[in-house]
C-alpha cells in the first residue's frame, strides 16, 4: 500500500528531532518533554533557593537587617510554593517522562500532546506566581498552607496565586493521567505488573494520589476565591463559616501531597541501591505493598497537622495512631534497603553516595516524624523550628537527594557521556555536610522554643541560627557544582556504554538501549521473559 509506505517514510523522517525552538515548543517526544521538565525544575530550585537565602540571611542575627517582615513572609510562602510545585514535583514528572517508557519498553508516553500541554502550563503558571512579587500588596504572605482568614488579607496577588495553583493542579493531573495510561497500556509483552521496576510502581501509586487530591486543593482555593470576591462564607466565622474546615480540606490534600513528593524518591532509591550493591532488591514484593500501604494511610492522617487547633479526644487518638502506623511500612522499606546492601558488593559512585545519604538522613526525618505524631509532645513541637527541621530532612536529603541520585544515575544514559565523577563527589560531600549544618540545629531551635515563620527572634536563639544560616549559604553554593557537572556532561565527555555502570551491571530495559538512548526507542516492543 503506497499510502502506508509514504506514512512509513514520513515516520522515518521524524526520527530526527525538529530543528530549533519548534522542537521544544511542539515537543511530543517523551525525552524532550522530560528534559524540559528537569531543566525547568532545576531553574525553579535556584529561584526557590534564592528565596531561602533571603530567609537565612535575615535570620543570621537577631533584629531586622535586610527585609521588612511582610517581605520575609512573602519569601517563606513563595519559597515553599516554588520548591514544592516548581522544583520537586516537576523533577519527578520529568524523571517519569524520561524513564517510564524506557523501563517498561514503550516507544513514548501514551498521550504525547497532553504531555506537551502539561509541561507548557508550568512556565506560565510560575511566571504568574512570581509576578505577584511586584503587584500592589506584594505576593502571598500567609504561608503556603493559605489558611484563612490570613490568606484572605492578601492584596492583588490573591486571584493570581489561585489561578496559578489551578494551572499547576491541571498540569499535575494531566501528568498523572499520562503516567497511569502509559503504565497500564504500554508495557512490553511479558512485563506483568509485579515485574515492573520499582520506580514505575512508585510513580503509578503517586499518580493515583495526585488524581485523588489535586482536585481537592482546587476546590479549597476556589472556596477561598469566592469567600474573597463573591461574598460566600465558607471559611468566614462571621458569616457562619468555619476556618478550621479549610484546614481539614487543605490537609486532606496536603498530607498525600507529602507522599507525592517522597514515593517516587523511594522508587529511585530502590533502583540505585540494588545496582551498586550488585544484588537484587530484597523483598521487592513487600516494597510494593509497603508503598501502597503508605499511600492508603496518607489519606487518613491529615488531622495530625491540626492537633493544636483543638480536636475531639477520639480524633486526636485516631490521628495519632494512624500517623504512627505509617512508620511500619516506611520501616519495612528502610530495612529492605539495608538488607539489600547486606552481603552485597558495594561500590560508591555518586548515585550510590546520594542514595546512602538519603537512607541515613531520611530516616532521621522519619524519627522526628514519629515524635511529631505523638499528640502530647506535638503540643510542644508544633509550629516551631522542630517541624521545619523535620520536613526539610524528609524533603531535602530525602526527595531532593533522591532526585540528584537519579540524575547522576541516568545522566549518562540521557547524554551518552560520563560526567566528571570527582566534581560530582565534591558536590555530594559538600551537600551532605552543609545540609546537616543547615537543618540539624533547627531541631535545637524548635525544642528551645523558637516559633517558625518569624523574621526576628529573641537573642537566646542567635547561635544556632547563625550555624544554620552558614549551612544554608554553603548548601546553596554547593549546588552550583551540580549545574557545572550537568552542563559539562551535556556538552561532552567520555563515551558512556549501554550499561553505563559496567562494573555494577544494572538490570532493567533502559540499560538494553545504547547511550544516549535513541530519540525514538522501543519502536518494536522488546520481549520480557
Amino acid at each position: 500500500m503506497p499510502a502506508a509506505e509514504a506514512a512509513h517514510v514520513t515516520h522515518e523522517h521524524h526520527d530526527e528531532p525538529a530543528k530549533g525552538i519548534a522542537r521544544w515548543l511542539f515537543a511530543t517526544n517523551h525525552k524532550d518533554i522530560g528534559t524540559m521538565y528537569l531543566v525547568f525544575s532545576l531553574i525553579m530550585f535556584f529561584v526557590g533557593g534564592a528565596m531561602a537565602m533571603v530567609i537565612r540571611a535575615e535570620l543570621f542575627k537577631p533584629g531586622l537587617q535586610l527585609v521588612q517582615p511582610e517581605f520575609f513572609n512573602q519569601m517563606t510562602t513563595n519559597h515553599a510554593l516554588i520548591m514544592i510545585f516548581g522544583a520537586v514535583m516537576p523533577a519527578f514528572v520529568g524523571l517519569a517522562n524520561w524513564m517510564i517508557p524506557l523501563q517498561i519498553g514503550a516507544p513514548d508516553m501514551a498521550l504525547p500532546r497532553m504531555n506537551n500541554f502539561s509541561f507548557w502550563i508550568l512556565p506560565f503558571a510560575f511566571t504568574l506566581l512570581l509576578s505577584t512579587l511586584f503587584v500592589p500588596g506584594g505576593a502571598a504572605a500567609g504561608g503556603w498552607t493559605l489558611y484563612p482568614p490570613l490568606s484572605l488579607q492578601t492584596g492583588d496577588a490573591f486571584p493570581m496565586l489561585i489561578f496559578a495553583i489551578h494551572m499547576l493542579g491541571a498540569s499535575s493531573i494531566m501528568g498523572a493521567i499520562n503516567v497511569i495510561v502509559t503504565i497500564m497500556n504500554m508495557r512490553a509483552p511479558g512485563m506483568n505488573l509485579l515485574k515492573m521496576p520499582l520506580f514505575c510502581w512508585s510513580w503509578l501509586i503517586t499518580a493515583y494520589l495526585l488524581i485523588a487530591v489535586m482536585p481537592v486543593l482546587a476546590g479549597a482555593v476556589t472556596m477561598l476565591l469566592t469567600d474573597h470576591y463573591f461574598g460566600t462564607s465558607f471559611f468566614n466565622a462571621a458569616g457562619g463559616g468555619d476556618p478550621v474546615m479549610f484546614e481539614h480540606i487543605f490537609w486532606f490534600f496536603g498530607h498525600p501531597e507529602v507522599y507525592i513528593m517522597i514515593l517516587p524518591a523511594f522508587g529511585i532509591i530502590s533502583e540505585i541501591v540494588p545496582t551498586f550493591s550488585r544484588k537484587p532488591l530484597f523483598g521487592a514484593t513487600s516494597m510494593i505493598y509497603a508503598t501502597a500501604s503508605i499511600a492508603f494511610l496518607s489519606f487518613i492522617v491529615w488531622g495530625h497537622h491540626m492537633f493544636v487547633d483543638g480536636m475531639p479526644l477520639a480524633a486526636q487518638l485516631f490521628y495519632m495512631m494512624s500517623t504512627m502506623l505509617i512508620a511500619v511500612p516506611t520501616g519495612v522499606k528502610v530495612f529492605n534497603w539495608t538488607a539489600t546492601m547486606w552481603k552485597g558488593s558495594i561500590s560508591f559512585e555518586p548515585p550510590m553516595l546520594f542514595a546512602l545519604s538519603f537512607l541515613f538522613l531520611f530516616t532521621i526525618g522519619g524519627f522526628s516524624g514519629v515524635m511529631l505524631a505523638i499528640v502530647p509532645i506535638d503540643f510542644q513541637y508544633n509550629q516551631t523550628y522542630f517541624v521545619v527541621a523535620h520536613f526539610h530532612y524528609v524533603l531535602v536529603p530525602g526527595a531532593v537527594f533522591a532526585i540528584m541520585a537519579s540524575v547522576y544515575y541516568w545522566l549518562p544514559k540521557w547524554t551518552g557521556h560520563m560526567y566528571n565523577m570527582a566534581l560530582a563527589k565534591w558536590h555530594f560531600w559538600l551537600s551532605t555536610i552543609f545540609v546537616n549544618v543547615l537543618f540539624f540545629p533547627q531541631h535545637f531551635l524548635g525544642l528551645a522554643g523558637m516559633p517558625r515563620r518569624i523574621p526576628d527572634y529573641a537573642v537566646q536563639f542567635t547561635d544556632w541560627n547563625m550555624v544554620s544560616s552558614i549551612g544554608a549559604f554553603g548548601f546553596g553554593l554547593s549546588q552550583i557544582l551540580f549545574v557545572i557537572v550537568i552542563l559539562q556532561c551535556a556538552r561532552g565527555g567520555a563515551k558512556a556504554s549501554a550499561l553505563v555502570w559496567d562494573g555494577a551491571r544494572p538490570t532493567g530495559l533502559e540499560w538494553t538501549l545504547p547511550s544516549p538512548a535513541p530519540y525514538h526507542s522501543f519502536t518494536t516492543a522488546p520481549n520480557v521473559e
Partner: protein, 308 residues
C-alpha cells in the same frame, strides 16, 4: 557553643539591673518578683514548671531515646554493610538473598510493639491535657493582629488587659533601628502588661481570635493552643507552688506582618499576692479619677481626655 539560657543566664551574662516593665509594674504593686525562668537549656525542651510540662518532657525524652536505640541498630546495620561488604575489599554479592518472610514478619511486628509502647502513655496524657474541668480561675484570651487581650472571670471578674510588645523591643525591632537587640532586656519577649496568674491554681484559658488564627504558647507550661475566630478553645495550666516568676512565650501561628512581635508573658505570683493584685486592679477600675499614674488598666474617661 554558648547558648544564652533564657532570663537566668542573661542575668549572669549582663549584670544589669532588672529594669524590665514587668518588674517595674510588679514593684509598683508591691509584689516580689522571683527570678523569672525559662527552663530550656537552649537545645532541648524545657522541663517547665507544671506537671503537664514535666510529663511532656519525660515522654519527649523517652521517645527520643527509643529513636536513638532504633537508630543505633538500623544505622549500625547500614554502616556494618558499608564497611564489610565493600567491592573494593573483594566482597562478592550473595544474589540468592531475595526475601525472607520470617525476617519481614519480625521487622513489621517489632515496630508495631515499639509504637504501642509510645502510644499508651501518650493516650493517657491526652486525657489529662483535655480535662479542663474544675478550674480555679478562667481567663478569656483573645488574639488580635498583633496583641493579646486577657479578660478575667471568676473572682477576678472585670479585669481586662491588653498585652502588647514592650516599647524598647518595639523600637529595636524596626528595620535599620540601629539598636542592638542584645542591649534590650528580653528582646521580643517582653510586654507592657503581662498576664498575672496565681501559682498552684488550675488556670483555664478560653482562647479565641478577633481576626486571623493565632496560637497561645508558653513552653514552660507545656501549653499551646490555637486562637481561632468563631471558636473557643480551652487550655489549662497549673504552675507548681514555689515556681512563681515570669514565663515567656510567643504567638505560634503565622498571623501576618507582626507575627513575631506579639509575645506572651505570664507573671506567676502566690495566691495571696494574686488576691492583692486583683484587689488593686479592681480598686483602680472603681476610681478612674485616680488615673494619671499610668499603671492602671482602665481607659481614661472622656472628662480626662477632653480639654477643660
Amino acid at each position: 557553643m554558648t547558648v544564652i539560657n533564657g532570663d537566668g543566664a542573661q542575668g549572669i551574662s549582663r549584670p544589669r539591673g532588672r529594669s524590665t516593665g514587668v518588674a517595674q509594674c510588679a514593684a509598683a504593686l508591691g509584689i516580689a518578683v522571683d527570678a523569672s525562668a525559662n527552663t530550656s537549656n537552649g537545645y532541648n525542651l524545657p522541663t517547665g514548671v507544671t506537671e503537664i510540662s514535666r510529663e511532656m518532657y519525660a515522654l519527649h525524652m523517652e521517645v527520643f531515646w527509643i529513636c536513638v536505640g532504633i537508630a543505633v541498630v538500623v544505622f549500625g546495620a547500614m554502616i556494618y554493610s558499608l564497611v564489610k561488604f565493600r567491592k573494593s575489599q573483594g566482597a562478592i554479592a550473595d544474589t540468592t538473598m531475595l526475601h525472607s518472610t520470617k525476617v519481614e514478619i519480625i521487622w513489621t511486628t517489632i515496630p508495631v510493639l515499639i509504637l504501642i509502647v509510645m502510644a499508651v502513655p501518650a493516650a493517657e496524657m491526652i486525657l489529662k491535657i483535655e480535662d479542663s474541668r474544675n478550674a480555679g480561675l478562667s481567663i478569656r484570651a483573645t488574639g488580635y493582629q498583633w496583641k493579646w487581650e486577657y479578660q478575667y472571670m471568676d473572682a477576678a471578674d472585670g479585669i481586662d488587659l491588653y498585652s502588647t510588645l514592650a516599647r524598647p523591643s518595639n523600637f529595636a525591632r524596626e528595620l535599620h533601628s540601629g539598636i542592638d537587640p542584645n542591649t534590650v532586656d528580653n528582646y521580643l519577649l517582653e510586654v507592657d502588661k503581662p498576664l498575672v496568674v496565681p501559682s498552684g491554681t488550675k488556670v483555664r484559658l478560653l482562647l479565641t481570635s478577633q481576626d486571623v488564627i493565632h496560637a497561645w504558647w508558653v513552653p514552660d507550661f507545656g501549653a499551646k493552643r490555637s486562637a481561632i475566630p468563631g471558636y473557643i478553645n480551652e487550655l489549662w495550666f497549673k504552675v507548681d507552688p514555689g515556681k512563681e516568676g515570669t514565663y515567656r512565650g510567643q504567638c505560634a501561628a503565622l498571623c501576618g506582618r507582626d507575627h513575631a512581635f506579639m509575645p506572651i508573658v505570664v507573671q506567676v505570683v502566690t495566691p495571696d499576692d494574686f488576691k492583692k493584685w486583683v484587689a488593686d486592679q479592681k480598686a483602680q477600675l472603681k476610681q478612674p479619677a485616680a488615673a494619671g499614674q499610668d499603671s492602671g488598666t482602665a481607659p481614661p474617661t472622656t472628662a480626662q481626655v477632653l480639654p477643660r
